[in-house]
């Protein structure tokens, strides 16, 4: 049987070009077989192959037990493969992990340094809290290992242990600290400790303040840039806690900035000064000014340096950090930062863009936006996804390919990083984010920085052209949340902006309307929306709204109407189409509602032609799949038909010899549908502030005798055939009551809930009913029917009761009472409470002021007046409610973000609750005392445990001796028993170290058992043995001794080998 080694696998893979998948499947099958053989060499080889294939996404979790077998091999080469496989393939749910624990302990305690290192690098990948607890003692002893390589790895491993089991730090931290403070310690160990301290530092900076002198010493000693960077990073979290550090740090940091040849160290110094608040702390003093100037100048130099985009990137990052505290400093360098907007590298550009948004003011806004626009215009639309070779698809996309470019692969990778200059295409998401930023900059603080709205409208129209074709998810949605709909694409955001400007800034409405027209006009569509697909078309619905609402301002309303009713418009998405449908009658009204002009035949012809075109457009839309579109189309279609009738029937001036009035429907009725109060911007929270009317009773039934009504409806249904004609006319002329759904026509879902028999029964009963009430006397039936109908509709305001005489004979119900008490006996439309808006007496004046006119009118420039959001001046209660709502939202969001851990995140939050200061004595005494007590108690428990174990051991030996005395020598089992005993002793010793509070109970139990055993001393040997075993298992509740027992024999052999 030929077995491949790893080289052959890889070589084979490279040889099977195009058929890699088959080859891999075959190889996997071989590995499966090989890994089960008893030959450890074969096992290890198979495992290595599996690890290689795992890299390409072939799961090997099934082999976890074999991994363990190879790990436990005595040969280092096997071990290395085994441990590597464990690192690469063990997952939190890997079951054999528990079995690995003893092996890890054993290897950790071995003499071979390489093996120990293997274990140390593996533990962070596989550790679980329970395992951490039991490995802790073994790891702590490794801190004193003679090899610095082992020591430094142990330190880091202890840190990872602490992440899952924070208690680790209690015993470990004092030792680590000792090593850190030891000046004779190997520098690489010190560096490793500094790395760990830096990771721990930001969680609990106060615990590390006592280390500051030593860290300072290490910083000034220099030598290791990596460590210096880490120390600076750590100090930047410490300085806010200890202001005195600032003065101390300033000289070395300044000198490093001035002297170091390492750019990374220089940058981190500047960054540390910024982040640690050192700049603020020394502000005003001479050296403070100097250091600020130094830092900023260095950052500036990084921005302008040629040929290193990395420096630009990190400098911008640093600028972004000070922009909130030192906006003035950042603004001083706006020239170089602005340069970065046009950087060839998109990462740099994005950073710069972030900064620029915070830097705009009335003076530079236009300039910046123009630059961004130019960038959008000049760059070709070449989304990254357009190249199919780069579109690698999803998880199964990676297959080991047979590489065809062997020449390439022999290129030494030491060669200088390959870099060449080449213009980058603008990916869609960047494009989207630029547009969003432009909108954000311009609309900031309700257009505070906007001087020229005409220009802005021009920009918006330009932006529509630049919208990426695919509707990317817009991140811009903060300011137009008030519009109340989602922002599915950036084009919608542009549209919303256009609408916002049109509504808020009266002065530029004509321009806005003209812009809307230019967007809507059919013959310009090609030019306006060059992007294929639905790119910029999201703007159309806003444009249509503007065109409709401000139709009188349109330069050419007729052209707009022509475009709106163009055949191609019917293909637009439903949302846009609905907006179009609403705009059509508005524009139509503007064109036809002139009251002054005479009704000439020309005008009539024109009007009828327009109507005909609209009807032609609306007709097919009455069957549109979208309900919204359908409804609007039906409504306006009928309106247009009426208008058409009115127009054609109205005699023209020619016909009537002299002046003829245009039809009233066109001049009065239809325009009145669309005129009224002007639409003003309303604050998002305004609706919440409308107080509920006191007499609004949402809980009381609208009609208390619903049951009866339903019954009547059923009766009524029975009389259908009697008055067919009557029914038909009623169907069209009356609004059905809300409760008139007959009982046997309940929704299908309801019927499904009922047991079928009852449904049948109810049906049959209704049929019977039908049969029974076959009218004998039609007249009588009619009268009764009418009476019933009256009864049924007595509360329906739409029902015009021929018999009703205003005084109202109907029985009063809750709603009725409300209406009556509010309006008096007669139903006066003007007096409907909705219009009264009488919320409360006191702030009425204010409310009116707030309600009718914009709350705050900001005068930006002579011409432009920007309407703010309308809102109601709510009471305190409202504010409170809002605040709580917001707070609740925030906390929910926070909870969500906390729950949604990032993919690769290692959660260290457990550490934040653990104080390390117990022996440093710096922090809160109570905490320290508590932990001290804790430590004491644990120590006591440990001692007790050791004593108990010794006692047990002694007892067992006694019994063994007793057994030997009784049993004649030479029994074959004896050997195994002795060996077993030996092993148990070992285990017992292992236990001594890792006792924890949790096992306190165990100790007690054990002692009890022991006592009992003492009392029953004269038992037979076999039983004694059994009890013994049980006792040990009890003691090792969390170690998998039980499972191990099955393989005892093999384990024993391993031990002997070792």
């Amino acid at each position: 049987m030929f077995e491949k080694d790893i080289y052959q696998l890889i070589r084979g893979l490279r040889a099977h070009k195009g058929a890699e998948r088959d080859y891999i499947n075959q190889a996997l099958a071989e590995c499966r077989r090989e890994v089960r053989t008893t030959d450890l060499d074969a096992k290890a080889t198979a495992l290595l192959k599996l690890v290689y294939l795992e890299m390409f996404g072939h799961d090997m979790s099934w082999a976890s037990f074999n991994v363990l077998e190879v790990m436990s091999s005595a040969k280092f080469n096997h071990k290395r493969v085994g441990y590597l496989a464990a690192v690469q393939s063990f997952r939190p749910d890997t079951e054999v992990l528990m079995l690995a624990e003893n092996l890890l302990k054993k290897d950790l305690g071995g003499a071979d340094k390489a093996t120990i290192a293997l274990v140390l690098t593996t533990i962070p990948h596989v550790v679980s809290p329970a395992m951490a607890n039991s490995l802790l003692a073994d790891l702590l002893t490794r801190l004193a290992h003679s090899s610095p390589a082992i020591r430094k790895k142990t330190i880091v491993t202890l840190y990872r242990l602490a992440l899952v089991y924070p208690e680790t730090l209690r015993p470990a931290w004092p030792k680590i600290k000792e090593l850190l403070l030891d000046e004779d310690e190997d520098p690489s160990v010190t560096a490793a400790i500094v790395n760990v301290v830096c990771e721990l530092g930001w969680r609990r900076p106060q615990d590390f303040l006592p280390l500051a002198p030593r860290l300072f010493e290490l910083l000034t000693a220099g030598g290791n840039n990596w460590m210096a960077i880490k120390i600076i990073k750590l100090f930047s979290t410490l300085t806010p806690l200890e202001p005195r550090l600032v003065k101390k740090l300033l000289p070395p940091l300044t000198s490093i900035i001035k002297t170091t040849p390492a750019m990374s160290l220089l940058y981190e110094c500047v960054n540390g000064i910024i982040q640690g608040g050192i700049m603020e702390a020394v502000e005003g003093t001479m050296e403070g000014d100097e250091v600020a100037r130094l830092c900023v100048n260095k950052l500036r130099a990084m921005l302008v340096v040629e040929g290193d985009p990395n420096l630009r990137f990190v400098a911008l990052l640093a600028f972004a950090k000070i922009t909130s505290s030192h906006a003035d400093i950042v603004a001083q360098h706006s020239d170089v930062i602005l340069e970065c907007i046009d950087d060839p590298d998109i990462s740099v550009r994005t950073r710069a863009l972030d900064l620029v948004v915070g830097m705009i003011n009335a003076n530079n806004l236009q300039q910046i936006v123009e630059r961004l626009l130019k960038q959008l215009r000049s760059a070709g639309k070449a989304p990254a996804t357009a190249d199919p070779s780069q579109d690698r698809g999803m998880p199964h996309g990676i297959e080991p390919l047979a590489d065809d470019d062997d020449e390439d692969m022999q290129t030494t990778i030491r060669a200088k990083e390959t870099k060449s200059a080449q213009a980058p295409p603008l990916p869609d998401d960047y494009r989207t984010s630029v547009i969003e930023r432009i909108l954000e900059m311009c609309s900031r603080e309700t257009y505070a920085h906007m001087n020229d709205f005409e220009w802005y409208i021009g920009v918006l129209v330009e932006l529509v052209k630049q919208c990426p074709a695919s509707t990317g998810s817009g991140t811009f949605g903060s300011h137009n949340a008030g519009v109340g709909k989602e922002v599915p694409s950036v084009a919608d955001a542009v549209g919303n902006e256009l609408l916002n400007v049109a509504v808020r800034v009266k002065a530029v409405r004509p321009e806005a309307a003209a812009a809307a027209q230019s967007l809507l006009l059919f013959d310009q569509r090609e030019q306006m929306f060059p992007a294929a697909g639905s790119g910029g078309q999201g703007v159309l619905s806003s444009a249509a709204f503007i065109a409709g609402e401000y139709a009188t301002l349109l330069p050419s309303a007729e052209a707009v109407l022509t475009s709106l009713v163009h055949v191609s418009s019917a293909q637009l998405p439903p949302q846009t189409l609905a907006s179009y449908l609403q705009a059509i009658p508005k524009v139509f009204t503007t064109l036809t509602s002139d009251q002054q002009a005479a009704w000439t035949s020309t005008r009539r012809t024109n009007t009828t032609l327009l109507i005909a075109r609209i009807i032609h457009f609306l007709g097919p839309l009455t069957l549109h799949p979208s309900l919204e579109v359908q409804e609007r189309a039906v409504e306006y279609l009928d309106l247009m038909r009426l208008a058409s009738e009115a127009a054609s029937s109205q005699p023209t001036s020619e016909e009537s010899d002299g002046y003829a009035e245009p039809p009233l429907l066109l001049t009065q009725a239809i325009p009145s549908l669309f005129t009224g109060m002007e639409l003003n911007p309303v604050a998002a929270a305004a609706l919440r502030k409308v107080p509920l009317p006191d007499d609004l009773a949402l809980d009381s039934p609208i009609n208390s005798n619903l049951q009866m009504l339903l019954q009547q409806a059923e009766d009524d249904a029975s009389a259908f055939d009697s008055g067919q004609a009557d029914e038909v006319s009623r169907f069209y002329n009356e609004k059905p009551s809300a409760v008139s759904v007959p009982q046997h026509q309940r929704p299908a879902a309801d019927t499904l809930l009922d047991p079928p028999s009852s449904v049948l029964a109810s049906r049959s009963s209704s049929y019977q009913h039908d049969a029974e009430t076959e009218p004998l006397d039609r007249a009588a039936a009619k009268a009764r029917q009418r009476a019933e109908r009256r009864e049924r509709y007595k509360d329906d305001p739409y029902y015009i009761d021929p018999d009703r005489d205003g005084s109202g004979t109907s029985t009063p119900t809750a709603l009725h009472n409300i209406l009556r008490s509010a309006n008096g006996e007669e139903l006066d439309v003007d007096a409907i409470p909705v219009m009264e808006l009488k919320f409360d007496a006191a702030p009425e004046g204010e409310r009116k002021a707030g309600g009718r006119a914009p709350v705050a009118k900001k005068k930006v420039k002579r011409r432009f007046e920007i309407a703010g959001d309308e809102t109601l001046e709510g009471g305190e209660g409202d504010e409170g409610a809002k605040a709580t709502a917001n707070g609740g939202g925030a906390s929910v969001a926070a909870a969500v973000s906390r729950a949604k851990k990032s993919l690769l995140e290692v959660d260290s939050s457990g550490l934040s609750s653990l104080s390390l200061s117990d022996d440093a004595g710096a922090a809160s005494g109570r905490n320290a005392a508590a932990s001290y007590v804790d430590v004491e108690r644990r120590r006591a428990e440990e001692e007790e445990m050791t004593r108990a174990i010794k006692e047990v051991e002694r007892l067992r030996l006694e019994m063994q001796r007793a057994q030997e005395r009784i049993q004649p020598m030479g029994v074959p089992e004896e050997g195994t028993v002795v060996r077993r005993k030996k092993k148990k002793v070992k285990k017992g010793e292992g236990l001594e170290g890792d006792v924890d509070e949790g096992e306190g109970g165990e100790v007690a139990k054990r002692r009890k058992k022991k006592k009992r055993r003492e009392s029953e001393g004269g038992e037979t040997r076999e039983t004694g043995e059994v009890v013994e075993g049980g006792d040990h298992e009890g003691g090792e509740a969390d170690t998998p001794a039980q499972t191990k027992r099955k393989k005892k024999k093999r384990q024993v052999t391993f031990e002997e080998e070792a």
């Binding site: 962070p124 490793a192 981190e268 080449q422 990032s902 993919l903 690769l904």
Partner: protein, 178 residues
């Protein structure tokens, strides 16, 4: 800390994957391909920092104070046919990470003498061993080139790729010149 170290070639073929958190194999592959898509789209003149791939992008816009635990930086470096990627949290220094990659590559070069991709394909175990000398559990333990090399050599002889490789493969002609 460092959350992951990835090495793949110009075609996105992985040469080393090391995640310092336990992650499902399928998710690993997805992350790999997302990063490759990002990295492959970048012109050589651009900087060595990537935007976060979709899988790692923060789910909500709220940047919480606990940001230090979440990976926030993807640093890459491109050498000949290989990309070296480091995913790290904000406690690492971006420029220092670039130097770290350099040390890693130099160490490989020392061990393999004029290292090329083929060496890494055939000796991926060594690739892991070098990394283990430098990073343990996501924390950097050694940045000194000498010590890294020394640490790896202490574990045993580092093989150059199989000696007969140039003759055994299909592509004899191409390899003959070497």
């Amino acid at each position: 800390m460092i959350n992951a170290v990835l090495v793949f070639n110009n075609n996105g073929q992985p040469r080393l994957t090391k995640f310092y958190t336990q992650l499902d194999t399928a998710v690993q592959q997805r992350l790999l391909s997302e990063i490759f898509t990002l990295v492959a789209a970048r012109p050589p003149s651009s900087c060595n920092f990537l935007p976060l791939p979709p899988l790692l992008a923060p789910s909500s816009r709220t940047t919480s104070t606990e940001h230090n635990d979440a990976p926030s930086l993807v640093t890459y470096r491109h050498y000949a046919t290989l990309y070296f990627i480091l995913i790290s949290t904000s406690t690492e220094s971006p420029l220092a990470l670039l130097d770290l990659v350099q040390v890693y590559v130099e160490a490989l070069d020392r061990l393999f003498e004029n290292v090329c991709e083929l060496d890494l394909i055939f000796n991926f175990e060594t690739l892991h061993a070098v990394l283990a000398e430098m990073i343990v559990g996501g924390v950097v333990v050694e940045t000194g080139l000498e010590k890294v090399v020394e640490g790896v050599r202490a574990q045993g002889r580092v093989a150059k790729r199989p000696v007969n490789e140039s003759r055994a493969g299909l592509s004899q002609g191409i390899w003959a010149g070497r």
